[in-house]
C-alpha cells in the first residue's frame, strides 16, 4: 500500500479543496450567467406582456359586430331574387296585379330590354291616394323592386294623377 507522509496528506487535502472550490466557482459563474440571462429575457417578456395587454381590443365587441353584420347581410341578401326565381313576365303579372289591387288603371305597359336586365314601363292613371299606396307597397315589398324612373302628373286638379314609371326586380349575382 502506498504510504504518504502527513505533509503530503495536508497538501493533498489542500489540492482537493482547491479543486472543489474552483469547480464550484465555475459552476456558480455559469449559473449566475444563466440567471442573469433568464432575468433579462423575463424582463423583456414582461414588457411585451404589458404592451400586448394594453393593445388588445375587446374581442366580444368585435364578435357581436360581426354577428350583427352577418345577420344584416343575410337579411339583405334575401331581398334579392335569384336568376331562377322569376322572369320579367312573371314580374309583370305581379306588378299588374298590384296596380289592379290598388285601383289604378293601366293605360299601357311595355318591356324595355337593357344591357343587364329587362325593365317594365307602365303608364297608369288613378287616384293620388291609390298611387301613394301602390308606391308604399313597392317600397316596402319583401324583395327589392327598383323604380328607376317615375313621373307624376296631377295638373288636371281633379284629384287624379297620370303616372309613368319604369320598374325592375333586383337579382343577386353569385
Amino acid at each position: 500500500m502506498l504510504r504518504i507522509s502527513k505533509r503530503e496528506r495536508v497538501l493533498l487535502y489542500i489540492l482537493a479543496w482547491v479543486v472543489i472550490v474552483v469547480a464550484f466557482g465555475i459552476y456558480f459563474y455559469f449559473k449566475t450567467e444563466e440567471m442573469a440571462s433568464l432575468q433579462q429575457k423575463t424582463d423583456m417578456l414582461e414588457r411585451q406582456m404589458q404592451k400586448v395587454t394594453v393593445k388588445s381590443p375587446d374581442s366580444e365587441d368585435l364578435q357581436v359586430r360581426k354577428d350583427t353584420l352577418v345577420n344584416q347581410i343575410q337579411i339583405e341578401k334575401e331581398k334579392y331574387y335569384h336568376r331562377d326565381d322569376i322572369d320579367p313576365y312573371q314580374f309583370s303579372i305581379v306588378i299588374r296585379n298590384l296596380l289592379s289591387t290598388n285601383g289604378l288603371t293601366i293605360k299601357k305597359y311595355q318591356t324595355i330590354e337593357l344591357t343587364d336586365y329587362t325593365s317594365l314601363e307602365f303608364s297608369i292613371a288613378g287616384g293620388v291616394l291609390e298611387l301613394i299606396e301602390f308606391l308604399k307597397a313597392v317600397s316596402y315589398a319583401d324583395k327589392h323592386w327598383n323604380m328607376s324612373f317615375l313621373t307624376l302628373d296631377a295638373r288636371k286638379g281633379d284629384g287624379t294623377v297620370d303616372a309613368i314609371f319604369r320598374i325592375n326586380y333586383e337579382t343577386l349575382d353569385e
Binding site: 406582456m49 395587454t53 308606391l135 328607376s148 302628373d153
Partner: protein, 389 residues
C-alpha cells in the same frame, strides 16, 4: 422495550426469566433484551488519553492485558464511554468469550445489557454529588461507586437472605466516607418498601438515599440504549473527523441545491410568461383575423346599401312633410337619384331653407317661380337629388 429477561445459573446452566413474571421462560419466548448476570463480568474504569474514537478499541485491547489476568484470546470485552470536563473514561465489561457466546445463543441475537446500562442515564442526575448505586438482584447485588459522573469502581456480591449480612458486606466495599455519598437503591417494585425500611434503619439519619424501581428503568430501554457486545452499534458511529469534511460538503451541496431551486423557479416563471405571451399572440392573431372579417363584412354591407333601390314612398313622404300644406305638387319626375317637381304654394324660398336642412336631399335648386294671378301663391319648379346612403 418493556419485555426484558435476565439469567440465573441453575444446576450449572443458564435459565431465562422474564422480569415481569419471575418465572422461567424458554429462549423462544418473547422478550426484547436480555440482562446478563453481573457475576459473569469484571467491570473496570479506564481513563482514556486524547485519541480518536476509532483508536479506542485497540487502545483498550492493549490496556486490558494490564488490568485483566485472563487469556487475551479467550477474553471478550465491550465498553461504554463516560465524559467529564474534557476527559474521557471507558467503562470496560470483561468476560470470557465462551460466556458471551452462550448469552448470544440464549438471547437469539437479541440485545444484551448489564445493570450499568440501566443506571447510566441516572448518572447525569447526580452530577453535583458522589453517588453509590446499589443494584439488588434476586441472587446478587452490584455496587457502583460514582464520583464526578465517572464510575470509579463496581463490585458484585452474592445476595444473602438477611439484609444485615448483605449490608455488612457492602459496607466493607464502600469508602470510609460513604455516608457523604448519595445512596441510590435499585430494586424490584415488590422489594421496594421492605428494602427502604432496612436501609433507613441501617443508615445514619443525615445520610441521603433514594429508591429507584427497576421496572421503571426497564421501561427506558429502547433502540437508543447503549447495548453491549453489539457489533452493529459500534459500526454505526461516525468518526468525528469525518464531520470536518461532511459539514462543508453539506454546506456546498445545500448552496447548490438552493441556487438550483432559485434558477428552476426563474425558469418556470419564464416558461409561464412565454406561454402566456404565446396565448396572447394567438389571441391577437385571432383578433386581427376577426377585425379583417368585420371590415370585409362592413364593406359588403356598404355595397349592399348602395345597391339597394331608393325608397320612393319615403322620399315622397319627406317632400310632403317639408312642404306641409302650403304647397301642392302638380308634377313630379325622378330618374335614378335626380328629381324635379312643379308645385303651387306659398313662399317657396322658405321651403328652400327647409330643404337645405334636410339630410335626405342635396343640390336642391329653385328653377323658376311664377306668381299665380289673383292669389298669394306661386307656381315654382325645383330640382335636386336624393342623397346617397
Amino acid at each position: 422495550m418493556t419485555h426484558c429477561a435476565y439469567t440465573e445459573i441453575t444446576d450449572g446452566s443458564y435459565q431465562l426469566y422474564l422480569f415481569e413474571q419471575n418465572q422461567p421462560v424458554g429462549p423462544s419466548d418473547t422478550f426484547s433484551a436480555l440482562m446478563m448476570a453481573r457475576p459473569d463480568f469484571d467491570i473496570k474504569s479506564v481513563e482514556l488519553p486524547p485519541v480518536s474514537d476509532q483508536d479506542i478499541p485497540n487502545l483498550l485491547k492493549f490496556k486490558l492485558r494490564s488490568i485483566y489476568p485472563g487469556n487475551p484470546d479467550e477474553t471478550a470485552f465491550d465498553y461504554t464511554i463516560l465524559s467529564r470536563k474534557n476527559k474521557k473514561y471507558a467503562v470496560l465489561f470483561i468476560t470470557e468469550k465462551r460466556i458471551i457466546e452462550q448469552y448470544q445463543s440464549l438471547s437469539g441475537e437479541k440485545p444484551l445489557f448489564l445493570p450499568f446500562t440501566l443506571i447510566k442515564p441516572l448518572i447525569k442526575r447526580c452530577e453535583r454529588e458522589n453517588c453509590v448505586f446499589i443494584f439488588f438482584h434476586t441472587s446478587w447485588i452490584e455496587l457502583m461507586l460514582i464520583q464526578d459522573s465517572i464510575l470509579i469502581s463496581s463490585f458484585v456480591i452474592n445476595r444473602h437472605s438477611s439484609f444485615k449480612v448483605n449490608f455488612r458486606k457492602l459496607k466493607t466495599l464502600l469508602p470510609d466516607s460513604y455516608e457523604n455519598y448519595s445512596l441510590v437503591c435499585v430494586c424490584p417494585k415488590e422489594e421496594e418498601s421492605s428494602l427502604e425500611q432496612n436501609i433507613k434503619a441501617n443508615l445514619n439519619p443525615e445520610s441521603s438515599y433514594s429508591m429507584v424501581v427497576m421496572e421503571e428503568l426497564l421501561k427506558n430501554i429502547d433502540r437508543k440504549t447503549d447495548f453491549l457486545f453489539s457489533e452493529k452499534q459500534k459500526r454505526r458511529s461516525i468518526p468525528n473527523k469525518l464531520f470536518m469534511y461532511l459539514y462543508p460538503a453539506l454546506f456546498l451541496i445545500l448552496t447548490v441545491l438552493i441556487f438550483n431551486k432559485s434558477i428552476n423557479q426563474k425558469k418556470t416563471y419564464y416558461s409561464q410568461l412565454e406561454n402566456r405571451l404565446k396565448a396572447f399572440e394567438s389571441q391577437t392573431l385571432d383578433m386581427i383575423t376577426l377585425e379583417k372579417e368585420v371590415k370585409t363584412l362592413e364593406d359588403e354591407w356598404i355595397q349592399f346599401q348602395k345597391r339597394a333601390p331608393h325608397n320612393l314612398f319615403f322620399m315622397l313622404s319627406e317632400l310632403s312633410r317639408i312642404m306641409e300644406e302650403r304647397a301642392v305638387i302638380t308634377y313630379f319626375v325622378i330618374e335614378k337619384d335626380s328629381f324635379q317637381f312643379e308645385a303651387i304654394g306659398q313662399n317657396p324660398l322658405d321651403l328652400m331653407e327647409k330643404f337645405k336642412r334636410n339630410d335626405n336631399f342635396q343640390n336642391i335648386k329653385l328653377l323658376q317661380s311664377i306668381p299665380v294671378q289673383g292669389t298669394n301663391k306661386e307656381r315654382f319648379k325645383v330640382i335636386g337629388s336624393v342623397k346617397n346612403k
